[in-house]
Symmetry: C2
Subunit: 468 residues, 2 copies
């Protein structure tokens, strides 16, 4: 942006400082000024534009209070507002991935293993049973029988105690996050997330003009010491965590960390958001612990996705909402899309009631644990090259730390040329983080055995090339 | 709110003005301080709280720049930020309406006339044809063949020229509005709407902390003189209009008004949002004019809903997006829910391609025009009581002006007691408008002939009782 050429109109009704505010705001929103850019010094810009210093000060303060810039004492004003949100490769549709490429990037199952026939059966049964009512407006929070059976399911398998009236059916976890953001966040509010984290969540939080504060992960979950320090200063409204097979690090939280988080939520008066997409996929006898299961003070908003476990195209998931927030969430859902498709609610309800969900889940677990073991065994070969990784014992991914000096993004590009799609850690970290180019995420979800073996071989070659 | 009892903590890290800002903000968001409330005078509050005047000034300015209050010269600061959005009765689920009540409030068809069987046929065909891919992730903007056939449809029947790449499939018109709001509005931006208007739209705009400016309607559409005056001052980002069978007034815009609006959009650099839910339902030979059809400068975001014409529970509609906004809208859709359900996209595509849409539309038009004529004939009886109304020649509703001295809200309550549900105009106006309690909206969509005749008879009795 060429600040000297900014045109202000002194004959306009609009004060000069607001005109200047708008011009800089537009430049930030249109990507012309990027995050971290330092605005010109106040006196210099005032001189260049032939306006009073106060005009520039007021414009900068307006930008600051609107969340577009932040001031550092003695150093000036820096752009903080994200322009257009970065979109993750994970949300790219499969059609944009070139053919014959081995895909370690998507954590969605291959369409060939979807329970297509049994779901079709449920759709047909529902339409025959409910006729036109299957296509009418649904209650904003969703079809009640489905909410009832989901409450039972949570109790039985996740030790989460809730009632159907506290469940809201949403069109997938991403919509759940969007609804949470709209219900809980106003401009300038703080949100704490893990780092690295899922950028689809931070995008939704940022779209509310809220500010993101990140906290490092330890092997037991979020770093509690750093966390409390930051929470004490920024007084967040929300804390967003993935406690089970965290995305992308594959870590599971220790019970101690979960309980401490809940105690801190009481102490500092924030809500915790627990995003759970794959906790059912544990390949050992020990299932990971759920934050919501320990939540005696009703401080946790729980998100369950079915995209990874069932079929992403159904666009269905659900929230468990604390009692104090229930009314607000219902209104937000109505304002967002009135309600999700009742036909899908009713069909999923029947899918659960006819025990097809249980059958499907055991089938998926059998398939996935085989792929998991295979990829794990292949990854052993990479250790000699200096690659290290956590053993997740569940989920759909591995998170690999690369040997020193190797750029994750460059490795991603090199693999792509060789016909392998991986996700570089740059997608999961903010632009400033020192570790942002050191990791890659590999998913085995959409691949068959042959692809897993071939893909790791390509990866090995590319790492070797990068090191040489 | 008792301002005198506000507690500020001078030992905190947080500046006093930010503490004060937060307390007043919370009071506004929690409904304690309502729109139009005048904040205490600066000096008085500073004295009461034993703080410097500047602390109060800074807190008030922060509230102003965040859109929670507005200042009037020489008069003080007034609350402008809406608290929790009002939710329209229209969005209430059918289950909350008591049984045996005649329902003139919902503009949705009765589930008995949904094309259930033919849609089931399409669902089954699609699953057999596409197998698992029918349940996979869809491209963010939707299934391309559906976008192609919708572009053809617009060209043929609405004289709207666009390309499939400018169409985005959304989960109903409400989600379309939400996506527009998120893509185009930041805190403090202005939006112009008609008054009265659909409150589901204003709720979505307000949720972005934008400010709403309303303009009266004339028989030819929005009042262009008042409109330009206001636009000149507030420089809106968006102007939201329903040009065809406007909700709730049933008015259609004259071509002159449409063309003037487009010229003003160029002059003042805003985008027009045209929300079209029922334009297909014209009961004369002359179809109403579409703003988008005249849009040579790519200034119109067009929203098409299928909820009123097909089945609301499908949750499907689409946007036509100006080229300059396309990338932004795609990203917003991904951030909102990644994509809508591909199964529904594919089935609707087949529904169009097998000419079921045309058949269904003629069937709906035949049914609705019969109900329209019947309600119109019954309404004649009310004229003697001083009721007046526009003759819409299309759509699903009538908009009745009540005789002087009769409260729409009280009439709504009286009708409800007598087993009839109507919509009072209070739902469509802001709280300050002088006409807000003078009209009612009646829809014939979900009723059969007997209910229409009985319902109007109940209404007549209740009006008479109100006048006596």
């Amino acid at each position: 942006m060429n600040f000297v050429s900014i045109q202000l109109d002194s004959s306009s009704n609009e004060p000069l400082y607001l005109q200047l505010f708008s011009k800089i705001k537009e430049a930030i929103l249109s990507d012309e000024l990027i995050i971290g850019y330092r605005l010109p010094a106040i006196r210099r810009l005032a001189k260049d534009l032939s306006v009073n210093n106060v005009t520039v000060i007021n414009a900068y303060k307006q930008l600051e209070s609107s969340g577009y810039v932040t001031s550092k004492k003695g150093s000036g004003f820096y752009v903080t507002k994200p322009n257009t949100p970065e979109i993750s490769l994970m949300t790219l549709p499969p059609t944009t991935i070139k053919e014959n490429c081995i895909n370690f990037s998507s954590a969605s199952p291959h369409p060939a293993i979807f329970p297509t026939d049994s779901f079709k059966y449920c759709l047909d049964e529902v339409i025959d049973r409910d006729k036109g009512f299957a296509f009418g407006y649904q209650e904003a929070n969703g079809f009640m029988p489905l909410r009832e059976i989901l409450a039972e399911y949570l109790e039985k398998t996740h030790r989460i105690h809730t009632s159907p009236s506290h469940i809201q059916i949403v069109s997938g976890a991403q919509q759940g996050i969007d609804i949470i953001a709209k219900s809980c966040l106003n401009a300038g509010d703080y949100v704490v997330t893990e780092t690295p984290t899922y950028n689809g969540a931070t995008d939704a939080f940022k779209s509310r003009s809220s500010r993101i504060v990140t906290v490092e992960l330890t092997p037991f979950g979020i770093d509690l010491i750093e966390f409390e320090k930051k929470v004490n200063v920024c007084k967040p409204k929300l804390v967003y965590v993935m406690t089970k097979f965290q995305n992308p690090t594959t870590l599971c939280y220790a019970p101690y960390t979960l309980k401490q988080l809940l105690a801190l939520a009481e102490k500092y008066n924030f809500y915790l958001v627990e995003d759970d997409s794959t906790s059912e996929l544990s390949y050992t006898d020990r299932a990971p612990y759920s934050l919501k299961a320990f939540d005696t003070q009703d401080r946790v908003i729980y998100i369950k996705s079915f995209s990874k476990l069932l079929m992403p195209g159904l666009r269905i998931g659900f929230l468990v909402i604390p009692d104090a927030l229930l009314d607000r969430f219902t209104k937000t859902k109505q304002m967002t899309d009135i309600a999700s498709s009742g036909l899908i609610h009713r069909s999923l309800d029947l899918f659960f009631r006819t025990h097809k969900w249980e059958e499907h889940l055991s089938y998926m677990k059998a398939i996935y644990s085989g792929k998991y073991e295979l990829m794990l065994s292949q990854l052993e070969n990479l250790k000699a090259l200096g690659v290290t990784f956590n053993i997740p014992n569940g989920g759909l991914c591995f998170w690999l730390k690369l040997p020193k000096g190797l750029s994750a993004y460059k490795l991603y590009e090199r693999c792509l040329e060789s016909g392998l799609l991986i996700l570089p850690s740059t997608l999961f970290y903010s632009t400033m983080h020192k570790e942002r180019d050191h990791y890659i995420r590999l998913s085995f979800a959409p691949c068959d055995a042959k692809e897993i073996v071939e893909g790791i071989a390509i990866l090995e070659k590319c790492i070797k090339k990068g090191l040489s």
